[in-house]
C-alpha cells in the first residue's frame, strides 16, 4: 500500500496547521484534524502493528472505534504512557509520540495524574448518535414538547447540532434509563469526563458498522473496509493506496468506487458476490504487505486469476450498532433484508427506540447477498486450510478455531465465543462477532438467526480506570473523619489507623521507639499510673420517648427498663438469627431518655437496625433514635491515679467511691465545660469517660494533659486499648465475632435474660445454637511466653496428623498481644467446646513449624475485678 496525502480535499483537516509527531521513533508530520491513523496513512506507514500470537504484519483496517489492528502505545504530553489506544480515533496533536504494539500494551509505571471528572444529569430524552436520524429524533422531540430536556451524544469530535455533546461515546445502558458516557477533553485542562445520565427515554441512533468477508490471508496491511477507504479520502485527503480491488456483496460500495476513482485510485478489479465472483486469497510483498489478490470469477472455485493491487476494499454488509440496545435487554432478530441482526420492535420497557441505520435502515444497501467467508482456493486446500482465515484480527482467531470449537461439541454461541476468544478483545468483536456467528451457523447447518450473537456488555469502547475513578481517589475516595482532638495527635507524633472512616491514633511512639515498646509503655502507664485516650469515635445514639426502656429490653439481650436514672449498663445486641451484632454501655439520662454507645465501626449499622425495628415491627412504640456521635467529644482517663486527675478537673463533683460508684454517670462541669462523666471501664482499671460538647474537645484534652502532667499522664491509642481489654477477656465485635457467634459463645450467657423476648432469643434456642461443640471464647497462653501467635492462626489437636488432610480444626486465634501486666504473650481464641478444655494443650501449625499453647480462662488479668475502684 502506498498511501499519500492528496494535493487537495479532506473536510476535517486544516492544511495551514501542520503537526509534528513521532511514530516508532520516526519524525513525521500531519495536519490539525488528522487522526493518528490518517496521518500514518498519509506518510505511507502501512504496517502499524504485529499480531499478538502469529506475529503477522497488520495495517489500518477501519476509520473508527471498530478498529482491531491499529492499537498503539501513546505517550501523553504529561509523560503518562497510555496502552492500546485506537489510532483511528486518536486526534493528532503536536508532539504526540506513539509506538506500534504486538497485541498487548504496557501499563504506565507512574500514577495517572491527569484530571478526570464526572457529571450527573437528568433528561427527558437522550439521543445517542448525531447523524441525520438522531438529529431528526431530537428535533421531533423538541417540537412535540418544547420544555423537554434533550441531550444528544456523538462519538465524533466534529459532531454538531442543537444540544449535541460531541466527542462523547455512550459506554453502557443500565436499569431505568441510566446511561454512562465518556467525553474526551471536555476542557483544555481535563483529560476526560464521565457522564452519568438518567433518561426518561433513549433513542439509539448509533448507525451501523461495515463488516468484512473472511478470506484466506485477509488480514494483510492494505486490506481495508471499503467505507473506511472513502473516509480517508473525504475526511483527511488521504489516498490509502494506488491500485485497488473491490470485494463486495452490496450497493454501498458504489459510492466508494466513485470517491476513490476521483482521488486517482486505479480500480484493478471489482469482485461482486452477486455475480458469483469472489476473492479467494491474497499475496504479499517481502514486508508482508498486500501485493496481489486472487479472484475466482465463478462459484465453486476452479481456476482463479491473480491481480496486482496494494489496496483491497472489502464490504460484507453492515451491522446495526446494537450493543446499547442489547445491553438494555432489547431483543434482536436476523433481518434477511439487510443480512444482519437488527433491533426487534418494540423497544425494551417502552423506554427505548432505535432509529436509522441502528434500526436496520441501511441507506443505499441495494440487494445484498449474504457472504461471510470464502473457502480456500480449491487447488490448494492443504493442511493449513482455514488457518489464515482470520475472523478476529485482534485475537488472531481463525475460521479453523471456530471449526475446532464446534468440532468439540460446543453449540451455544456464548461458549464458542469463550472457546475461540472471538469478540473478547478490546474491540469487543465489532467487525468479527456477527461474522463468527454466521460461520458457526454454516458449520452447524443452522440459520444465523437461530444461532444468534453473544451478549453485548459495557463498555462499548475501552475506558481507563483513571477515567472511571475521576477525582474519587486518594484522600477523596472516601470521607475521612477526624475527632476535634486530631490536630493534637498529629502534633504529638501519633501513628494512625483507619477504623471505618475514622482516623484513630494507634500508638504514640517516643522518638525512635518501636510500636511494641510504645504499647508496652502505654499499657504499663494505664495499669500503674494514669493514661488517656481519645474515645470520641465511639458511636453514640440518643434514645428518647416514654417507651425507650421497653424498646431497649427488646433490642438488648439483657434488661434496661429497670435501670435507674444515673446508672449505666453493658448490653449485648443480637440480630434475629441470635448472633452478636454489637455491644456497648447504655446509660439512663432520664425516665424517657437513654444514651447508647456502640462500637466505632458499627454506629451507622446499629442506628439502621434500631430504625428498622421501630419503623417496621413496632411503630406503636413511642421512641426516637438520633445519632449524637459527632456532638460529643469523649476522653477516657484511665488508671489507678485517674481519680486525682478528674478531681482536679471537676472540683464540684463528689468523686468518692461511695458517691460516684462504678457503672454510674454524673453531670459535671469539667475544666469549666458542662458535660457528663461516666464511670465505665474498658480496661478493668479505675476509669472515667469525660464527655463534653465536641467543639470543646480539644480544650478538654489540653486540660486533662495539664492536670495529669505531674502524674506523668500518658496518651495511648487503639493498640493499647486492645491489649488492655483483651487481658480482661472483653471481646471486640468484629474481631472476636464474625456473625456466627452467640453471646453464650462469648461467655456472656449471664447477660441473656430468660424473662423476656428480645431480638435473637428464639434463634439462640435452635439446636444448632445449643451444640456443645460450638466455638467458645477462651484465653490461649503459648508454652513459650515469648511466642506471639499470628491472629487468624488455626488450632488443631496436639496429636493431629498434619500429613492427613483435611486436618480437623479446633478453632482459631482472634486476638494476640504482648502483655506488660502478664509479662508474656497471650491470645484470645474461639475453640470448639473451649470452656471444657481449659488447661488442655493445642497445637498451632505455622509456616514451617508447630507451636504449642495452653487453653486458659478468657479473663487473664484481675479476674476478681479488684482494680476497678483503683489500686487494691
Amino acid at each position: 500500500m502506498s498511501g499519500v496525502r492528496l494535493p487537495a480535499g479532506g473536510d476535517r483537516i486544516d492544511r495551514s496547521l501542520p503537526i509534528a509527531f513521532e511514530f516508532d521513533g520516526r519524525a513525521l508530520t500531519g495536519f490539525a484534524g488528522d487522526t493518528l491513523a490518517s496521518a500514518l496513512l498519509a506518510n505511507g506507514v502501512d504496517i502499524v502493528a504485529r499480531s499478538i500470537y502469529d506475529d503477522r504484519p497488520r495495517g489500518v483496517m477501519s476509520a473508527g472505534p471498530e478498529e482491531p489492528n491499529a492499537l498503539v502505545q501513546v505517550e501523553r504530553a504529561d509523560g503518562v504512557s497510555e496502552p492500546m489506544v485506537r489510532a483511528t480515533t486518536l486526534p493528532l496533536e503536536d508532539g504526540l509520540r506513539a509506538w506500534s504494539l504486538a497485541g498487548k500494551g504496557r501499563l504506565a509505571a507512574q500514577t495517572d495524574d491527569a484530571r478526570f471528572d464526572k457529571r450527573y444529569t437528568h433528561v427527558e430524552v437522550l439521543v445517542i448518535g448525531a447523524g441525520a436520524s438522531g438529529l431528526a429524533a431530537a428535533a421531533a422531540t423538541r417540537s412535540a414538547d418544547p420544555g423537554a430536556r434533550v441531550l444528544v451524544l456523538d462519538a465524533d469530535p466534529g459532531a454538531a447540532g442543537e444540544g449535541v455533546l460531541a466527542d462523547t461515546t455512550a459506554l453502557g445502558v443500565y436499569d431505568h434509563g441510566y446511561v454512562t458516557a465518556v467525553q474526551r477533553r471536555p476542557t483544555p485542562r481535563t483529560e476526560g469526563r464521565l457522564w452519568h445520565i438518567r433518561a426518561g427515554r433513549i433513542v439509539i441512533a448509533t448507525g451501523a458498522t461495515e463488516r468484512p468477508i473472511i478470506v484466506a490471508d485477509g488480514d494483510r496491511p492494505g486490506i481495508m473496509l471499503a467505507s473506511a477507504a472513502a473516509a480517508y479520502v473525504e475526511r483527511y485527503g488521504v489516498r490509502p493506496g494506488a491500485r485497488a480491488v473491490l470485494f463486495t456483496n452490496n450497493d454501498t460500495t458504489d459510492r466508494v468506487v466513485t470517491v476513490l476513482r476521483a482521488a486517482g485510485v486505479e480500480m484493478a478489479a471489482e469482485v461482486d458476490v452477486r455475480r458469483g465472483e469472489s476473492v479467494v486469497g491474497t499475496g504479499a510483498d517481502d514486508h508482508g504487505r498486500l501485493a496481489s489478490v486472487a479472484i475466482a470469477r465463478s462459484p465453486g472455485g476452479g481456476r482463479h486469476e491473480t491481480v496486482d493491487a496494494d489496496l483491497l476494499l472489502v464490504s460484507g454488509g453492515w451491522n446495526p450498532n446494537v450493543s446499547l440496545w442489547s445491553q438494555a435487554r432489547g431483543t434482536l432478530r436476523f433481518d434477511e433484508r439487510i443480512a444482519a441482526f437488527a433491533p426487534d420492535r418494540p423497544g425494551p420497557h417502552g423506554r427505548m427506540e432505535a432509529v436509522g441505520a441502528a434500526a436496520g435502515d441501511i441507506a443505499d444497501l441495494g440487494r445484498i447477498e449474504p457472504a461471510w467467508i470464502v473457502p480456500p482456493a480449491a487447488d490448494d486446500p492443504g493442511e493449513d486450510a482455514w488457518a489464515t482465515h482470520y475472523v478476529d484480527l485482534q485475537r488472531d482467531a481463525t475460521a479453523r478455531d471456530l471449526q475446532r470449537a464446534l468440532g468439540a461439541g460446543l453449540t451455544s454461541i456464548e461458549h464458542v465465543k469463550r472457546y475461540t476468544t472471538i469478540g473478547t478483545a478490546a474491540d469487543q468483536g465489532k467487525t468479527s462477532g456477527v461474522v463468527a456467528s454466521a460461520i458457526a451457523a454454516a458449520i452447524l447447518g443452522q440459520e444465523v438467526g437461530a444461532v444468534g450473537v453473544p451478549t453485548y456488555r459495557p463498555p462499548v469502547v475501552p475506558v481507563s480506570f483513571a477515567q472511571l475513578a475521576g477525582r474519587d481517589r486518594g484522600d477523596l475516595l472516601d470521607p475521612i473523619r477526624v475527632t476535634p482532638i486530631h490536630d493534637w495527635h498529629v502534633a504529638h507524633g501519633a501513628v494512625f489507623e483507619d477504623v471505618g472512616q475514622w482516623k484513630r491514633p494507634r500508638y504514640f511512639p517516643d522518638a525512635g521507639e518501636s510500636m511494641e515498646a510504645a504499647v508496652l509503655r502505654e499499657c504499663a502507664a494505664a495499669r500503674t499510673g494514669v493514661a488517656v485516650m481519645d474515645a470520641t469515635t465511639l458511636g453514640k445514639i440518643d434514645l428518647q420517648g416514654p417507651d425507650a426502656g421497653v424498646f431497649l429490653d427488646r433490642v438488648y439481650t439483657n434488661t434496661f427498663s429497670t435501670l435507674k436514672v444515673g446508672a449505666c449498663r453493658y448490653g449485648v445486641m443480637c440480630r434475629v438469627d441470635g448472633m452478636v451484632f454489637d455491644d456497648g454501655v447504655t446509660s439512663r439520662l432520664a425516665d424517657d431518655r437513654f444514651h447508647m454507645t456502640t462500637t466505632t465501626g458499627n454506629a451507622a449499622p446499629v442506628l439502621d437496625h434500631l430504625e428498622e425495628w421501630l419503623q417496621t415491627e413496632w411503630p406503636a412504640l413511642r421512641v426516637r433514635a438520633t445519632s449524637v456521635t459527632e456532638q460529643w467529644a469523649t476522653v477516657a482517663v484511665v488508671g489507678p491515679r485517674s481519680r486525682e486527675v478528674v478531681a482536679a478537673l471537676a472540683p464540684g463533683l463528689d468523686i468518692s467511691i461511695g458517691a460516684f460508684p462504678f457503672m454510674t454517670w454524673r453531670d459535671a462541669v469539667i475544666a469549666g465545660i458542662a458535660g457528663r462523666v461516666f464511670r465505665i471501664s474498658f480496661s478493668g482499671e479505675l476509669a472515667y469517660e469525660l464527655n463534653v460538647p465536641a467543639n470543646h474537645g480539644l480544650e478538654l484534652w489540653d486540660a486533662v494533659m495539664a492536670a495529669g502532667a505531674p502524674l506523668g499522664i500518658t496518651p495511648y491509642g487503639t493498640e493499647t486499648m486492645h491489649v488492655l481489654r483483651a487481658e480482661k477477656g472483653y471481646p471486640i465485635i468484629g474481631q472476636e465475632t464474625d456473625g456466627t457467634v452467640t453471646p453464650q459463645d462469648l461467655g456472656l450467657g449471664a447477660l441473656v435474660s430468660t424473662k423476656k423476648d428480645f431480638i435473637g432469643r428464639r434463634s439462640q434456642r435452635r439446636p444448632d445454637s445449643l451444640r456443645p461443640d460450638r466455638k467458645q471464647l477462651v484465653g490461649l497462653l503459648p508454652v513459650d511466653p515469648g511466642e506471639l501467635l499470628p491472629e487468624g492462626a488455626q488450632l488443631v489437636a496436639p496429636d493431629a496428623d498434619l500429613g492427613r488432610v483435611p486436618v480437623p480444626m479446633l478453632g482459631h486465634v482472634t486476638s494476640s498481644y504482648r502483655s506488660a501486666a502478664l509479662g508474656r504473650t497471650f491470645a484470645l481464641a474461639l475453640v470448639k467446646g473451649g470452656r471444657d478444655r481449659i488447661g488442655e494443650r493445642v497445637s498451632v501449625p505455622l509456616a514451617g513449624r508447630v507451636v504449642e499453647a495452653t487453653i486458659a480462662e478468657a479473663v487473664l488479668f484481675d479476674p476478681e475485678n479488684r482494680r476497678r475502684d483503683g489500686e487494691p
Binding site: D175, H176, V576, D608, E612, E617, R762
Partner: protein
C-alpha cells in the same frame, strides 16, 4: 442503577437506599410457640418469583424511612 420512587422524597438512585428483602413477613407474635422448623422457615426462607415481587427498601441516605415496593424481577421495572 435502579431509580427507586421513595414515597417521601421522590425518585432517587439506588445507591441512596438499602435493600430489606421480602416485604410482608411480620416478626412472629409468639416465637416461643413456634417449632424449630417453623422458626427456621421464618428466619431463612423467602420466595423467589420470576415477575412481580414485593420487597422492602429504606432510604438510608435520605429520609431514613422504610417502605414497600413491587418490582418485576425479570425486567427490574417498578410496578408500584
Amino acid at each position: 442503577m435502579l431509580s427507586i420512587p421513595c414515597p417521601w422524597c421522590g425518585p432517587r438512585d439506588e445507591t441512596e437506599f438499602r435493600y430489606g428483602g421480602q416485604a410482608g413477613i411480620a416478626y412472629p407474635a409468639d416465637p416461643d410457640a413456634m417449632s424449630d422448623a417453623e422458626w427456621a422457615e421464618y428466619l431463612f426462607m423467602c420466595d423467589n418469583p420470576k415477575g412481580a415481587w414485593r420487597e422492602r427498601w429504606v432510604h438510608t441516605a435520605g429520609c431514613r424511612r422504610w417502605f414497600d415496593l413491587t418490582r418485576d424481577t425479570l425486567t427490574n421495572e417498578v410496578l408500584g
